[in-house]
Amino acid sequence: MSTSIARLIEEHNMKQDEYEVLLRVLEREPTEAELGVFAAMWSEHCSYKSTRIWLKTLPTTGPQVLIGPGENAGVIDIGDGLAAVFKMESHNHPSYIEPYQGAATGVGGILRDVFTMGARPIANLNALRFGELSHPKTRSLIAGVVAGIGGYGNCVGVPTVGGETGFHKSYNGNNLVNAMTVGLVQADRIFTSKAQGVGRAVVYVGSKTGRDGIKGATMASGEFNENAESQRPTVQVGDPFTEKLLIEACLELMQTKAVIAIQDMGAAGLTSSAVEMASKGKLGIALDLDKVPLRESGMSAYEIMLSESQERMLFVLNTGYESEAEAIFKKWGLDFAVIGELTDTGRLVCTRHGKIEVDIKIDPLVESSPVYNRPYETTPPQEPLKDDALLLQEEHTLISILKTMMGTPDLCSRRWIWDQYDCDVGTNTIQASGGGDAAVVRVEGTQKGLAMSVDCNPHYCLADPVLGGKQAVAETYRNISAVGAKPLAITDNMNFGNPEKPRIMGQFVGACEGIKEACLALDYPVVSGNCSLYNETNGQPILPTPTIGGVGLLDDVSRCMTIGFKGEGESIIVLGETKGHLGQSLYMRAMFDSEEGPPPPVNLTAERRHGKFIRQLIHDRAISACHDVSDGGILVALAEMALAGDRGCKLEGPCADVSFWFGEDQARYVVTTCDPDGVIARAQAAGIPYMILGLTGGEDITLEEDEVELLWLREIFESRLPDYMDGHEA
């Protein structure tokens, strides 16, 4: 073995036994470029080698599913000949090393996954996790990530309509950036990556290829140490302007008959897109790397094949349509180059300066990709909370606790973040961040809307991965139901630590089990997804964070439900059973810094029944506001409704127990109505537990002879994040 090959094996984290498989497939020693191709294709990031056997267990079918996992994004039927295309993807490692570009290119990558399928992107969402506010890097990471997401999404003209943000010390060295895009396409105009037709031209379009992002997929398949910043050259640099041109040019080309197959160049760049297209079509592909538009001179075959330069696409064009296609890309000012053709050899052959640098049989490259059934340990159940854990000093009242909680990083307003995202471009946004439990974007030209929500409670997932996975799915289901939409399908973005540690692998296996159960019980399949492993720094893993992105359909956007209180004197009712579960609650974290106890049980039968009930109430215009009860429990939900509607409430409950007001029992919604008798009669008939909690009105929230002015509560809620970002102490 040459020294350069030995060095590359080490740099790519390729295992010795994997290298031996490579030798068997190739039947000789690899060139540098070939080693790069194998290493990238077999990286955790591209091959899902640790997770594939578990991901295969997830439910992925249903009458609404047009295309499930395996393509660039999932596709679901939304009626009228239209389909929604969506996926969520992480860009965690790059966003820690270089927050602005890391987050920006995360948005760019997921957008490409969606418009590659022929869909016009209509909404972006994101789920972010940062370290604790007191950590010296957190402030600059938040500023950089948020500016990066906005900088990209705003420029390409796709509204960023929702998301969630969490903080925990386990993310100090590994922040998470999960970006989701939802697009719209005519159901009979969906494009895929399957190459067809020997001799057809393989065409490269978009930006030129540079040396940025080389080994990015490999970098994302390893842990960090204190020198993480030294990997900055592996982070790609985004150009949203070019992406915008690429979207318009690709969608314009797709209106013609020119496109046979299309694949974006994402992780592992030209390597994975060429292999993917040829492999799906059971064909070979020959590339002349001298024809690839380059940004800098002297690039080797290895560098060209592994560059992760952004905003690039690979097409297979219909014979005879090359000049029509070229004219469209020239019009949009984008590079267009025929760089090769499809062959019947079943091989990936790449030449550079007249020399064959890569010659690999594609089937064995794909089929011999390693699959690991890694050993795993099941997370042991948590001890129940001790009763004395609930003892608070006497000066605390329910209202004073609420005031404390509304100013915690986990609950405070995210306005500082979403003010920086253009949420209206496209003029179809019915509801964006802050208005309701799920974002709603109108399906242009119809009365329908797509509802979307991203959710995960990593604290629940750490304490009980199976339950946590279940709960994340159920929460998106609830949020989508709470705006009146029918939940249709999900995308999953699995963020975990090092899968080679049995404890971490056990978290992953558990979360998959929970997601599977919830998807089955709720008829809510997984249609796309992404895994991000090795989120560890110096051996410290993140909380297990299986972020779920749900999409649902609202038949009539004029019925879209919001959380804000609407009128004076309306009745407030909580639907669903309240037992007062405080294990892993936000209350315990905020008041006792405790992350103990089991998380609240998830009853999927109740979730399904209550969701359906709520959707019916909304459809019948029987309620005026609706909010699901999640982090912080009933009193926090009520405070959020009061703030959103700028209207107070007078509350009375069955007791003054903190567990009642702050417990996080699942499958619950708070609603307001002018017709409490009607809603109660319907709840009784449907067998759904309910409880009247008081009346809306006034300028305060009043409970147990104590009160807080909304103005004051709003100040606490709204000032926390801006003050912190302005440099105030954590």
């Binding site: 500016a147 705003n154 915008k244 041109l245 003010d419 995202y421 209206d424 471009v425 496209g426």
Partner: protein, 219 residues
């Protein structure tokens, strides 16, 4: 009313503007590609929002030199009405059709939110349907909306009633809270807020609709 929307590479509110115009006038506006050098007879030209040329160099600077702009300037000088929204306003300033310049927001961040505007001049083709001093709510979404001009320029704008919209809560640091202004002849209006994002009952904001209705009845 015969209307056209100019499309630059990187425009991203072109379709939104076109939709607002179609809804109101019942006919689709012409979409004019930035490389065009001749324009048909028009009553209204809209320069839409977005990030023309990626905001590279300076916002609006490169678009102002696009082939189509020579013709837009010529038409404006002949009295054709021109509406520049957001990036369109930036382009109008860079092309010299409007005075001053739009620089980085004082907060140094992109700002997307509904803002309140006071309609300062209703004697224009763009605002005839509003009431004097009416306060309307229209969203802004920009990183460079901070209006700046020399003191004598500002004084001239104020003296001649050329400040058409003024922020009630200034989101970007604009001098004199200027949100929208017109040329001396009154046929060119540039504004940072997006009236085309506030003309649809489905999202409960309709204050921008009167701007398009004003144009329809004036032109």
């Amino acid at each position: 009313m015969k209307a056209a929307v100019v499309v630059f590479p990187g425009s991203n509110c072109d379709r939104d503007a076109a939709r607002a115009l179609s809804r109101l006038t019942g006919q689709k506006p012409l979409m004019i590609w930035h490389e065009e050098t001749e324009l048909p007879v028009l009553d209204l030209i809209v320069l839409p929002g977005g990030f023309s040329y990626g905001d590279y160099l300076r916002t609006g600077a490169m678009a102002a030199r696009a082939p189509v702009m020579r013709e837009v300037v010529a038409q404006a000088q002949k009295g054709v009405h021109v509406l520049g929204i957001c990036n369109g306003f930036q382009i109008l300033c860079e092309s010299g059709l409007l005075p001053g310049v739009l620089i980085r927001n004082t907060g140094l961040k992109f700002v997307c939110r509904p803002v309140r505007l006071k309609v300062e001049n209703t004697q224009t083709a763009f605002t005839g349907k509003y009431e004097e001093e009416q306060v309307i709510t229209v969203p802004v979404a920009h990183g460079d909306g901070n209006y700046f001009a020399a003191p004598d320029v500002l004084a001239a704008l104020e003296d001649k009633g050329r400040v058409v919209f003024r922020y009630v809560d200034n989101p970007n640091g604009s001098l004199n809270d200027i949100a929208g202004l017109m040329n001396e002849a009154g046929n060119v209006l540039g504004m940072m807020p997006h009236p085309e994002r506030a003309d649809d009952p489905a999202y409960h904001r309709q204050d921008g609709q009167l701007l398009f209705e004003s144009l329809r009845s004036a032109l």
